[in-house]
Symmetry: C2
Subunit: 416 residues, 2 copies
């Protein structure tokens, strides 16, 4: 991509009403545009990051048999009334409500347990149909009272939600345990694995405990009680003697400290609640009707982008992990030069993703500042000076060291 | 994909309230689920088709410099009031309205001219910044009074909308003409090019005429006045002496007939209306402020899927064009057989997309009926009989002829 054509531009200041670091950086670097608090447009650079995060998640979910689909935001009330989640006052008024022109009341889905359970009732009849693992990347609408954390808490945001439909608690639990590993693998690939902890928390309505994945992060809205070395984490709200007893945690054996953290995923045992309320049953081997046992597995995609931005940035800008960077390489041409253009074409042809700063009326210092702000992992500079040595200057975004690489060896070097 | 694991199942009957052929077929074949009139969930097979259509569109738009982004559904009223499109009564009440918990009124975007013009005001300042071509695949919400045409008219549906931001009418027009060819290319790749016509229609507010792409289709909601041979089409609503004069059409030179048709794309000259109302200007070479000249280019993705379904189907089911088929091959195993499983793995490894009907408790006749209903381009049957000849039976969905192909030659044959 030629930067002279990229319509988004970097800016020195974020909007004054934007107080979160992640949104400030992502706005300044031209990744997102703020429509209102908690509602962000993804500009071309931002969409590329979002799609890379999605693709990593998708690949890992497909490996364990996930089937991708896409549900709707508009919902009628009937099925939600069966679980008593149509209420106006639910979670401080989380529903966005609207209506058809004939006055039929509708809501914008903040989650999809009810909708999917209802769909599955068309397809599940026998024990042979189970288990099913269905997921989607879909826009959720949540009428949050406060949305001051940038992309960490959205009113309209893309969520990955997977649901398991199992024969019984045993089959559900096997998958649930498997998903813990899948989530770990995803967070590792996203570059935040070493700071992300499986965290014991309140189970809500369906079971005594549930698990969240929490990433240690100053901007987070949660607090962990954490022994990093032993990898044990409990949500501070739920840290008490009972938890310790239930999980056989002797406080004196641990070096617990409190750390701010952001929830990047949650995995729930939903039990038979939805299946019973909505009528999702199957016939077992003996021909007896049984309710389906369910679980849900969420991940907010922009929130993950926000956490990465919060963690991997310095005073000059973002430092994207390579797996989710909008482009691997930011190629900078000093003054107009044909050789830079040629290198750009060669890199593209060899499949390397390049943002090429070909702008002619921009000073080198400004180009360097932009490259730091946008945060691609490798910065390449082509100037008369480097060309004298048949070379390109290379610098990693996370390092201050520059070195020259012969042009002929560049692609091989970048592919290592 | 193993059909024994695919959670959607075919069904004999569509829901009684579903009167359109496209939705009936897509529901019966397990591609979509109806949430309410004009609102459909995409099940795994349906999402695959949708993504293939998107990818074809994306490739062609990127070739002409389109930059992909993603805007938001939630909109505040300020910018829409500037163009007088916030009105309750706009297009018979097309807005879905909602509000924040603090009572701030919001709407769900039915289009994005205002929102994007507003965003561009952050990035456009000089003539050097133009032209810009930005597009998205994004869910539109339209509070349609009637939604009885299945996926042809959605209340919530995925739209590709591209907008051009040009220096002046001349620069806009060059791109506008280019987009006519881009659209033709897209419809050709989608398999509906020979039935799709650039159609003269009413220009709306901004110019005397605009152009639509209309596909001849009995389920369509429009009527064309069409000379198919000469490739001249006018929307019947706008066919009058004035049009004929303006486009130099002598009626006696044409064999006009009337045909029902569905609009699959529209391309609009928006002029300076949005830029002027919202304040999107640039400095020209002389430092003078000028409004940006715009155009918009829409395409409803599920509508295209619906049109394809309407056109390419018979009494037994859908007949997908290869470019958008959920899978290229539907491989059917008669009884359990190891050889079919081996062929399945080999096809997948060679990159051929296969739906493998490995179900053990389903009769061959039912499997054949399912294959016809789902409509993959090639049906392969592996049975004891074909294996005796070291072969697989192959049949195209659009033909009755079957023939045997040696297993060793299968992949080469399918890749031709």
């Amino acid at each position: 991509m030629k930067q002279s054509r990229l319509f988004s531009k970097t800016r020195k200041e974020a909007p004054k009403d934007e107080v979160s670091k992640n949104a400030q950086l992502l706005i300044r670097a031209g990744f997102v545009h703020k429509e209102m608090a908690g509602v962000y447009t993804f500009l071309p650079l931002g969409l590329r990051v979002l799609e890379k995060i999605k693709q990593i998640i998708r690949e890992e979910l497909n490996k364990v048999g996930g089937q991708e689909m896409k549900m709707t935001a508009l919902q009628t009330k009937d099925v939600w009334e069966k679980t008593d989640r149509w209420r106006e006052d639910l979670d401080d008024g989380i529903w966005f409500r609207t209506h058809l022109n004939n006055e039929t009341e509708l809501g914008l889905a903040f989650t999809h347990e009810e909708a999917l359970t209802n769909i599955m009732a068309n397809f599940v009849s026998s024990y042979k149909d189970l288990p099913i693992y269905a997921y989607q990347f879909q826009t959720k609408f949540r009428n949050e009272l406060r949305a001051k954390s940038g992309l960490l808490r959205g009113r309209e945001f893309l969520m990955k939600d997977l649901y398991d439909f199992s024969l019984d608690e045993k089959q559900h639990k096997e998958f649930y345990e498997r998903m813990k590993d899948v989530y770990k693998k995803i967070f590792n690939r996203l570059g935040i694995g070493d700071r992300t902890f499986l965290t014991i928390s309140n189970g809500g309505t369906f079971s005594k405990y549930s698990f969240e994945f929490q990433t240690v992060c100053d901007a987070g809205e949660d607090i962990l009680v954490l022994d990093e070395e032993k990898g044990v984490a409990i949500n501070k709200d739920d840290f008490n003697d009972e938890v310790c007893k239930d999980f056989n945690i002797k406080k004196e054996d641990y070096n617990f400290v409190e750390k701010k953290s952001a929830e990047v995923g949650d995995i729930y045992n939903l039990g038979e609640k939805y299946a019973k309320a909505i009528g999702l049953t199957y016939k077992d081997k003996d021909g007896k009707d049984k309710p389906v046992f369910m679980g849900s597995y969420g991940m907010g995609v922009p929130r993950i982008m926000a956490v990465i931005t919060e963690l991997f940035s310095d005073e000059n800008g973002i430092i994207w992990p390579e797996a989710v960077a909008p482009y691997k390489v930011h190629l900078i041409s000093i003054n107009k030069n044909e050789e830079a253009e040629k290198i750009y074409r060669e890199l593209e042809q060899s499949g390397i993703e390049v943002l090429f700063d070909d702008r002619e009326d921009v000073a080198p210092g400004e180009k360097f500042a932009d490259a730091d702000l946008i945060g691609c992992p490798y910065r390449l500079v082509v100037s008369a000076k480097t060309l004298k040595e048949d070379s390109v200057e290379i610098k990693r975004r996370d390092s201050d060291k520059t070195k020259l690489i012969e042009i002929g060896k560049l692609i091989k070097n970048l592919n290592n």
